[in-house]
């Protein structure tokens, strides 16, 4: 038991490592605050394109979503960071993360939002259009608010995944939480910093996970 505490819950080591762990946490927060909105913007664009009147636009949007859901995000990120410079395009670490998450996360959000739009009955659009609202106004004021509400649990779930996924930013030398925890582990030969990082992730994401189950339960009750 003592060994276990020594190896995983060593408070001395955690407090030694705490400055870099805090820095890592801060970096992870910055990443999350950047990539979640970027992904949402990408998702809204894709969802709107997938409802376009022109067939080829819809096909293009669907292909785009498939492509970036199939490419592993880590591969995408490494390509953007290490591959693009060969094409004379050096976007830097933050640039690579921004573009990579815009593409990858946007595809996932896009798929969720498209399902949300599909869940809004056609009669809603017809009623809105019959009062003279344009297609864009109908989307903005009638369809999208209902679509977002209908898929809120999925949007939150996706957001939780995205925040967890920010740990891959360490491969392009952005020292986020997991990266710092592993540094500390390597220096101290002790796993406690990793445990501390896990606790930090949990505390960060637990409110979202709670909110998600509350919404899911509410949706169930509504259906029942």
């Amino acid at each position: 038991m003592d060994d276990f505490v020594q190896a995983f819950l060593n408070l001395d080591i955690i407090s030694q490592a705490s400055p870099i762990l805090w820095r890592g946490l801060w970096q992870t927060l910055l990443l999350a605050v950047m990539v979640v909105p970027l992904g949402l913007i990408g998702g809204v664009i894709l969802a709107l394109l997938s409802t376009a009147p022109l067939r080829w636009v819809r096909i293009l949007a669907a292909g785009w979503v498939d492509l970036f859901r199939a490419i592993p995000p880590l591969v995408l990120l490494v390509f953007l960071y290490a591959g693009l410079p060969f094409a004379g395009l050096d976007v830097g670490a933050w640039g690579a993360v921004a573009i990579g998450f815009f593409l990858n996360t946007g595809a996932y959000y896009g798929e969720v939002l498209r399902a949300g739009i599909d869940s809004v009955p056609r009669g809603q659009t017809e009623a809105a259009r019959s009062t003279g609202l344009s297609q864009a106004q109908t989307l903005a004021f009638v369809v999208l608010p209902q679509a977002v509400r209908n898929v809120m649990p999925d949007l939150i779930s996706n957001t939780v995944e995205v925040v967890k996924l920010t740990s891959i930013a360490s491969v392009v030398a952005l020292p986020e939480l997991l990266f710092q925890a592993r540094q500390a582990q390597n220096v101290t030969y002790n796993a406690s910093p990793i445990v501390a990082a896990a606790v930090a992730y949990f505390l960060l994401l637990w409110p979202l996970v709670r909110l998600m189950s509350r919404l899911e339960n509410k949706a169930m009750a509504g259906r029942g």
Partner: protein, 251 residues
């Protein structure tokens, strides 16, 4: 008949054809509605009544034919359809109220975004329209907090708030429990008496007898018979009309 041909018909549809794939739903239908008249359309399910109505505000585009409403060529590509639709109110069988908005917001949305009215002005117009359908007290209720009949009355308020020249009703009471039908019909009666031009698809024969100027019987995408209610209901010319009316009357 009131207003018989004193002015050109406000709704003029000629030779409307509509196909969905292999299915021909409208086969050269004509429809004329004079100002302040109520035209009532009956016919078996699938005969094209909804499609005809939906062509009249271009929710469906006919494959062939011409539609003029209030002097506007509805099918011309030059016509600003959003503008034209302000003059054509539509009420649906399934109400289609926006569930995330209160009754008031349901009514003010188009007033603000389409007519560009300010918030206060739109609120006043919404209150007026909701008062007219007897729901002034329920302005801040969400659709889920209203009965089906009340929801349909809000939907009527949403349409009339835009001061349309013509109102289209597609089976406005078919989704309602019987005890809620009367409230909606009396709102329609009041509208009719205030001089609204109306095209109504419905099975409410008593309402037709009391309020319609003209009754049209449709079958298989064609207008089989047309005339004043007394004629269509008491002396239908076609066997199909006769058997349809017998069927409905039994309910």
């Amino acid at each position: 008949m009131r207003n018989a041909h004193s002015s050109p018909p406000i709704v003029q549809a000629h030779g409307l054809w509509k196909r969905f794939g292999a299915l021909t739903v409208l086969k050269g239908v004509d429809l004329e509605v004079a100002e302040k008249q109520l035209v009532f359309i009956i016919g078996p399910s699938g005969s094209g009544k909804s499609t005809l109505l939906r062509c009249l505000n271009r929710l469906e585009t006919p494959d062939d034919g011409a539609i003029t409403i209030d002097g506007i060529n509805l099918l011309s590509p030059k016509t600003d359809i959003n503008k034209a639709r302000q003059r054509i109110g539509m009420v649906f069988q399934s109400f289609n109220l926006y569930p995330h908005m209160t009754a008031r917001q349901n009514v003010t949305l188009a007033l603000r975004k389409v007519l560009g009215r300010g918030k206060e002005e739109a609120d006043i117009a919404a209150r007026h329209a909701l008062d007219r359908v007897g729901l002034g007290e329920r302005m801040d209720h969400f659709p889920a907090q209203l009965s089906g009949g009340q929801q349909q009355r809000v939907a009527i308020a949403r349409a009339i708030a835009l001061e349309p020249r013509v109102m289209l009703f597609d089976e406005p009471t078919s989704a309602l429990d019987p005890e809620l039908v009367g409230g909606v019909l009396s709102v329609m009666r009041e509208l009719r008496e205030s001089g609204m031009t109306m095209v109504v698809v419905s099975h409410e024969m008593a309402f037709a007898r009391a309020a319609a100027d003209t009754v049209i019987f449709m079958a298989d995408g064609e207008k089989l018979e047309e005339g004043p209610p007394a004629q269509i209901f008491e002396q239908p010319q076609h066997e199909r009309t006769r058997s349809f009316i017998r069927q409905i009357d039994r309910h």
